[in-house]
Assembly symmetry: C2
Homo-oligomer: 426 residues x 2
């Protein structure tokens, strides 16, 4: 029965039956969590041996001839820069390796440009009234959090299956020099799992923004994070920008948080020499050097880029069944009732679902009451405001598979219950 | 022969003989470094076993019941907060554990207050024209680097053996609300090794600054870093501030960089709940969580605070002979010629020497030419400007003892040569 074609009476019957199912689930005293893109225990166990490769008997001297146990080398050890150079697709000399969080490097980047100009004669963004940032939606709440914290007006840019709406981006950036940047998760986007098309990457690389200090925040968090055997390919934005004479446009970020240990991995950024000069001036005052022992640990464990790719196959094996559980349950429970549209990503950490308009908040509340924590409704929009109140991000990685199935069962009941409630109101 | 009492002829003879000694040293092709407070290899080896305590067979669940391999716990794991609470002398609930660098936490603190007010109705410091910071001199170049980067006018405050000139600090802060803070290394100060007297700490704690957002940057980098058996005692500033109703005045910092591994240790800060609320709001957008595996590594290795103190005894055993070499050489070479005054610290990482006025730059240049790298002359003053061109910071920790003796020999020749040159000019 497609809810949208049901009579009021049919909906009322369905409501009673869903209500009973829901109360049954609530009675189970569940405690489930699909809120964040946290790897599960089985994924953490994949990198356990990395903890043994740097030990009391190790040689701590790397390619730079420095003892990695001591201060020194602001931009990180050479071997690690080279590894991230391959992951990000840039010359290692444009790479800086930081602490354990790429989010922190992105925050530092925005923080830097708030008080220092990135182009000669430019204005620190703090001094730009009505400063704005472009935010493809749905997107990553922590990105929006940073520009929100720094007082940017955030302009939502609709996503299509090719990436953000380039017509809109080209028009806005050409006209308005208070627009200072755009947040991008270009491969397996958070939350939709969309990979930007070649045309989207080329159009981004060829932007001619009115603001000379407009920057593309290219958070390649899921660059090698496939979950099946038909992975997406992402065009190399740095190369495209160089071709377009726009080398200073992109700032690239990634980390091993979802390769080795979340929050205890290694993060890196890459940028043109002009950009890096501004950031390194700041880093030079900010820190003596980041944790080189952890860099060494990663480099020794993986050996080389191929080692990282091989390792990612193991993550894929753990994650693939989880995405199957999510997609199969959505398919069997929601397709028959005609409620919800969702993405079927080839990688990343999320499934993005649009439930019946006006019910996302209600779904999340119902789930919470039944013991299932989801990402807050609206979190995928700047300032937490989803104008359609429809989008919900599902993060299937953390729960064990049996709990995930339980969680998805509860979730689908709540999606249906909220939909029937809403339709009955009308 | 005291140079200051020599005839011109005697000085000329001495010049010839020093010049020959100097050329001999230069001919040796030395490559020595006393520039930075870097622990030496023997010190790094003291903590080697720490690298084995977190391994593939470890239990990663701490007091917070969280898997330390995964995201979570912004303020750091409870055990580690408690350990730093003891080190800093504050309740652990006022402690936040960060990444591997306390300098980074100090930078983030200033950076935070540049764009967000720390008191209700206050102005972000970016908006304060002619903003100023108090800088006890000689002091730590990297502190001055941070406030220099952020455009503060830096006011030098002379140090005495009791700490910075409190009369001056009380007067200035009472009058001028554009003075926003003071940099302090209260125990075994960098570079003089001075520990603030009880009276100095109490007067700092009782300050009544015109600026409600004046803050004391209390960098307790050497809080447990004694080098002999007559260690200094530092009064607890947090307790004194609470007594004075000035709980929001101090911001405390420290790290294990000079306890375990420089740049790969763990850093922490402590502050009142009012302050911490402002900083945590920022951290909440900046990062998901810092490296909990490294926190766990430290906690497991030390067991408790006594374990840290026991460990520091081993550092003392390595460092004590180095300070003896420095002080003995200064004594035997410079006392007879009446040149130079220096400190004899009970802890820390430096010996601060004032050479003949107007010769510090020359000494550093002569040393460099002879293959000995020192901290740049003037580095211990804001903007690198030592008005007397007299102060040089000696960092004896890094070179092995035989190299350190060579370095000190070269250093004393250069101090004497520069002095004689200067006296001949007069």
């Amino acid at each position: 029965m497609n809810y949208l074609q049901c009579s009021k009476q049919e909906l009322e019957q369905e409501y009673q039956s869903l209500k009973k199912l829901y109360e049954d689930e609530k009675g189970k005293g569940l405690s489930l969590n699909m809120a964040r893109g946290k790897p599960g225990k089985a994924q953490l166990d994949l990198s356990l041996d990395m903890l043994d490769v740097v030990n009391s008997k190790s040689d701590f001297v790397g390619a730079d001839k420095m003892d990695c146990r001591n201060y020194g080398i602001l931009e990180g050890i050479e071997e690690c820069r080279k590894l991230f150079g391959e992951i990000l697709g840039v010359d290692y000399q444009n790479v800086m390796v930081g602490g354990s969080s790429s989010l922190n490097m992105m925050f530092d980047t925005i923080s830097c440009l708030m008080t220092k100009p990135v182009v000669e004669g430019g204005k620190p963004w703090y001094e730009v009234e009505n400063r704005k940032f472009l935010c493809p939606v749905p997107g990553y709440d922590r990105h929006f959090g940073i520009t929100g914290y720094y007082g940017f007006e955030m302009i939502p840019i609709p996503m299509s299956e090719d990436g953000p709406d380039m017509d809109m981006i080209e028009k806005l950036t050409a006209e308005d020099d208070t627009i200072k940047g755009i947040w991008c998760v270009p491969k397996y986007s958070n939350p939709q799992g969309i990979t930007y098309s070649d045309e989207t990457v080329r159009r981004l690389a060829n932007l001619k923004p009115a603001a000379k200090d407009f920057r593309i925040m290219w958070d390649n968090a899921y660059c090698i994070h496939d979950i099946n055997d038909t992975p997406d390919e992402l065009l190399n934005i740095y190369d495209e920008c160089v071709k377009a004479g726009n080398e200073d446009l992109p700032l690239l970020f990634c980390s091993t948080s979802k390769i080795t240990f979340p929050g205890a991995g290694v993060a890196a950024m890459a940028a043109s020499p002009n950009n890096m000069k501004v950031f390194k001036e700041r880093y030079n005052f900010q820190v003596i050097s980041y944790d080189k022992l952890n860099m060494l640990r990663h480099v020794k464990y993986f050996g080389n880029y191929q080692g990282v790719l091989d390792h990612m196959q193991k993550h894929k094996a753990v994650l693939a069944p989880k995405f199957e559980i999510v997609l199969d349950t959505l398919e069997s429970e929601l397709v028959p009732v005609g409620i919800g549209t969702w993405t079927k990503p080839n990688g990343g950490y999320f499934v993005s679902i649009d439930v019946l308009e006006g019910t996302a908040k209600r779904v999340v509340a119902l789930c919470r009451e039944a013991g299932l924590v989801l990402t807050g409704a609206g979190a995928t929009y700047p300032n937490g405001f989803d104008p359609k109140d429809a989008n919900i991000r599902i993060a299937p990685s953390f729960p064990p598979n049996d709990e995930l199935q339980l969680a998805m069962d509860v979730f689908c009941i709540c999606v249906k219950l909220a939909a029937v409630e809403k339709l009955l109101e009308a």
